[in-house]
C-alpha cells in the first residue's frame, strides 16, 4: 500500500502522466472540433500516423523541429480535406470515409517511409525536442519536475485547449461551428456557409490531430516505427465522447487517462511477476471502453453528428 502511495508522491509519475496525455490532448481536441461541426472523423488513427511520419521525415531531411511540426499539421490538414470533401459536399458515409482515410494515410505513410529508407535495420534518429527549462517554475521543488519540465509540444497542446475553448465559446466563429453541428439549416438561413464551416473545422481539427502523431516521433521518441500509433486515435474518439465535446473536460479526460496509464506501468514493476504484461497493455483499451459505457446514457451528441447536409433539402 505504501508503495502505491509512493507512486503518487513522486514527481516523475506526474511528469509521465502529462507526457502520456499530450498526444491524446491533441487528438481529442482535433476530434472534438470535427464532431462539434457535425462530422465524425475516424481518419484520426491514420492522421496520427501521417503526422508522426511526415513530421519526423521533415526533421530528418533538415527542416528543423518547428518545420517538422508545420509539415505534420499540413499532412493532417491534407487528409482532413479528403475526409471533408467526401463527407460534407458529397455527403458520403462518415464511418466508411473515415476508415478509408485511416487506411489511406497509414499505408501512404508506411509506403513513403519504406521507399525513402528501403533497407535500414534500425530506424534513423533525429534530435528530438528537449524539455523546456522555464525560469523559476521548472526549479520549484516537486512541482517543477512534475509539471514544468515538459517539451514545447506539451505546452502547445495546453495552449490549444485554451484557444479552442476561447474560439468555441467566445467568438462568432465558434458559435457558428457549434451551430453547424447542431442545426445546419439554421446556420444556412443566417447566410453562413454550412459546407465552408464544416470543411474548415475538419481540416483544422485534422491538422491538430496530426500534431499528436508528431509528438510521438519528435518528443516522446526520436524515430518512426511501424504500428507506433497503436490505437491512440481510436482512444481519442472514445475520450471525446467521455469529455462531452468540451475542451476543458477533454484536457481532464486525457490527463486522467495519462495518470492511469502511468500508474499501471509503475504498478507493473511491483506486481509484474504475477500478472502477464499483456494484461497491463490491454488496460488503455479496456479503460476507453469503460469510459464510453459510463457516459453512454447521458452522452449529449452534437445533434447533427453523422447527418449530411444538402442545400435546399430538409
Amino acid at each position: 500500500m505504501s508503495d502505491i502511495l509512493e507512486i503518487f508522491m513522486s514527481a516523475s509519475f506526474w511528469a509521465a502522466a502529462i507526457r502520456i496525455a499530450t498526444p491524446l490532448i491533441f487528438g481529442v481536441i482535433g476530434a472534438l472540433i470535427c464532431e462539434r461541426a457535425g462530422v465524425l472523423n475516424l481518419g484520426i488513427e491514420g492522421i496520427f500516423t501521417a503526422g508522426a511520419m511526415a513530421g519526423w521525415m521533415a526533421v530528418w531531411l533538415g527542416a528543423g523541429l518547428w518545420g517538422g511540426v508545420l509539415v505534420a499539421a499540413l499532412a493532417g490538414g491534407f487528409f482532413g480535406l479528403i475526409h471533408a470533401v467526401l463527407t460534407v459536399p458529397l455527403g458520403l458515409s462518415q464511418h466508411v470515409s473515415g476508415i478509408g482515410v485511416t487506411l489511406f494515410a497509414t499505408s501512404l505513410s508506411y509506403f513513403i517511409y519504406r521507399t525513402a529508407l528501403p533497407d535500414v535495420s534500425s530506424p534513423p534518429r533525429i534530435e528530438a525536442f528537449q524539455s523546456l527549462d522555464i525560469p523559476v517554475l521548472s526549479d520549484l521543488p516537486f512541482l517543477g519536475p512534475a509539471l514544468f519540465q515538459q517539451t514545447p509540444l506539451t505546452f502547445l497542446a495546453l495552449f490549444l485547449v485554451a484557444a479552442t475553448a476561447y474560439v468555441l465559446y467566445r467568438t462568432p466563429l465558434g458559435l457558428a461551428i457549434q451551430a453547424v453541428g447542431d442545426n445546419p439549416a439554421a446556420v444556412e438561413s443566417q447566410g453562413l456557409s454550412v459546407y465552408g464551416l464544416r470543411i474548415g473545422a475538419i481540416v483544422a481539427g485534422s491538422a491538430i490531430m496530426a500534431l499528436g502523431g508528431a509528438f510521438l516521433t519528435m518528443s516522446a521518441f526520436d524515430a518512426f516505427f511501424f504500428g507506433m500509433v497503436n490505437g491512440r486515435g481510436w482512444i481519442c474518439i472514445a475520450l471525446t465522447v467521455f469529455a462531452s465535446w468540451r475542451p476543458g473536460k477533454a484536457l481532464l479526460g486525457a490527463l486522467l487517462f495519462g495518470a492511469f496509464d502511468a500508474f499501471q506501468v509503475r504498478l507493473q514493476t511491483e506486481v509484474g511477476s504475477f500478472i502477464p504484461g499483456q494484461v497491463f497493455l490491454m488496460m488503455p483499451y479496456i479503460l476507453s471502453i469503460a469510459a464510453l459505457i459510463v457516459v453512454a446514457r447521458r452522452a449529449d451528441y452534437p445533434r447533427a453528428l453523422l447527418v449530411p447536409y444538402f442545400k435546399g433539402q430538409r
Partner: protein
C-alpha cells in the same frame, strides 16, 4: 443518404459497373505512388498480374489469400447491411483462430469427421461471442459500436499474445510465442497436392451463398435489410430491431471467426500473433467494393487478393515496398465511395425533377 441496396436486375448491373470503375480508378491513381517509387507502371502491373494469375501456383496462392478476405468481407457486408458498424473483424478473426487451436490441439480427440466440424464450430462461436459484446453494449446501453469494436481488436490481439506466451505456448516451440500444431485430424484438408490451397475456400464460397440466401429469401434477411434502411421505421413496423442487431452481430462475428479457422487450421497449422496481415480491415474494403452484395464479395475478394499476392511478387522482383498493396487497397475504398455517388447522380439525371420530388 446513399442507398447501398441494389434493387432489381438493372441496379445489379449498375452496381457491378460502379465496382469495376472504382477498381480501375484505384489502379490508375496508384500509378502516382508507383512513379514516385521509380517503377515503370505498366511493367509493375504486368509483374503483379503474373504474380497472381500467371501460373497454377500463383493462382492457387491468390485463391488461398482470397478465402479469408471473402469471409471478413461477408462479415462486414452483413453487418453494414443492418448499419451495425462492425470494424472488429480483425479481432474476431483472432478469436476464431484461438478457439480453433484450443479445440484442435488435443482438447478433444477423434476422427476427422468429428474434429474438423468441432474446430469450425468453435471458431465461428468464438468470433460471434466476441462481436456479441459490442452488440449488446449498443442495444442495451447505447454505446457506439464503432469505437468498441475497434478497441476490442487491440484487446484480443494482446489476449492472443498472452495465451501464446503462457498457457497455450508450444512446449516444443523453442520458446517462440506460438501454439502447438493442430492435430492432423483437425486440420482442414488440402484441395490440391503440393499447393497450399485448402478447404477454407470452400467454406468461404458456401458462406457467401448462405448469406445471399439468408438476405434474399428469409424473414431474418428481410428484417436485416429493413433495420439497415431505417431502424425506427422498422421498429414501428413491428420488426424486432434489437433481436435483429444481435443476430447480425453473432453472424458477422462468426464469419470473421471462420476466416481465422481457415488461416490456422487450413494454412498455417499453428497460431502466431501475426496470423493476419489486416484481413479484418481489408474485409471492409472487400464489402464496400462488392456494394455489400454477398456474391459480389467473392469477386471483390479475388481482386483484393490479386493485389496482395501480385504486389508481393512484384515487390520481390523490383525491391519496391509491398506496402504498395495496402495503398492500392485503401485507394480502392475511397474510389468506390466516390463512384457509388457518381452512380447516384446518374440516376438523378435520368429521372425528371418533379417525378423525383414525389418519389422522395
Amino acid at each position: 443518404m446513399i442507398r447501398f441496396e441494389p434493387r432489381g436486375p438493372v441496379a445489379v448491373s449498375r452496381m457491378v459497373g460502379v465496382s469495376v470503375t472504382a477498381a480501375l480508378a484505384a489502379l490508375v491513381l496508384a500509378a502516382i505512388p508507383m512513379l514516385f517509387a521509380g517503377l515503370s507502371v505498366l511493367e509493375a502491373y504486368g509483374l503483379m498480374i503474373k504474380g497472381a494469375w500467371g501460373s497454377l501456383f500463383a493462382f492457387t496462392e491468390m485463391l488461398t489469400r482470397a478465402a479469408p478476405l471473402i469471409l471478413t468481407g461477408l462479415a462486414a457486408a452483413v453487418a453494414f447491411r443492418a448499419k451495425l458498424w462492425n470494424i472488429g473483424a480483425e479481432g474476431q478473426l483472432y478469436a476464431g483462430a484461438l478457439a480453433a487451436v484450443a479445440v484442435g490441439t488435443g482438447l478433444i480427440s477423434g476422427p476427422s469427421f468429428v474434429l474438423v466440424p468441432a474446430v469450425i464450430l468453435a471458431g465461428a462461436l468464438a468470433g460471434g461471442l466476441v462481436m456479441l459484446v459490442p452488440t449488446l453494449l449498443k442495444t442495451r446501453l447505447g454505446v457506439d459500436e464503432v469505437v468498441t469494436t475497434l478497441l476490442l481488436n487491440f484487446v484480443i490481439l494482446l489476449f492472443v499474445q498472452m495465451m501464446l506466451e503462457g498457457p497455450m505456448q508450444d512446449p516444443m516451440g523453442m520458446g517462440w510465442p506460438q501454439s502447438e500444431p493442430i492435430l492432423d485430424e483437425a486440420a482442414l484438408p488440402k484441395l490440391m497436392d503440393r499447393m497450399r490451397i485448402h478447404w477454407g475456400l470452400i467454406i468461404a464460397l458456401t458462406a457467401s451463398l448462405g448469406v445471399y440466401f439468408l438476405l434474399k429469401r428469409t424473414v431474418w434477411g428481410f428484417e436485416i435489410r429493413a433495420v439497415g434502411e431505417n431502424a425506427s421505421a422498422a421498429r414501428h413496423a413491428g420488426i424486432p430491431v434489437t433481436a435483429t442487431f444481435i443476430r447480425v452481430g453473432l453472424l458477422s462475428g462468426a464469419l470473421a471467426g471462420l476466416a481465422g479457422v481457415g488461416e490456422v487450421a487450413g494454412l498455417k497449422g499453428y497460431l502466431t500473433a501475426d496470423l493476419s496481415p489486416g484481413f479484418g480491415y481489408s474485409g471492409i474494403v472487400v464489402a464496400m467494393l462488392a456494394g455489400l452484395s454477398p456474391i459480389g464479395v467473392v469477386f471483390a475478394a479475388l481482386f483484393i487478393a490479386s493485389i496482395f499476392v501480385g504486389a508481393d511478387s512484384m515487390s520481390r522482383a523490383t525491391g519496391v515496398s509491398n506496402y504498395l498493396a495496402d495503398l492500392i487497397v485503401a485507394i480502392s475504398l475511397l474510389c468506390v465511395l466516390v463512384s457509388g455517388l457518381f452512380l447516384r447522380f446518374r440516376i438523378r439525371l435520368a429521372s425528371t425533377r418533379p417525378a423525383q420530388e414525389t418519389a422522395k
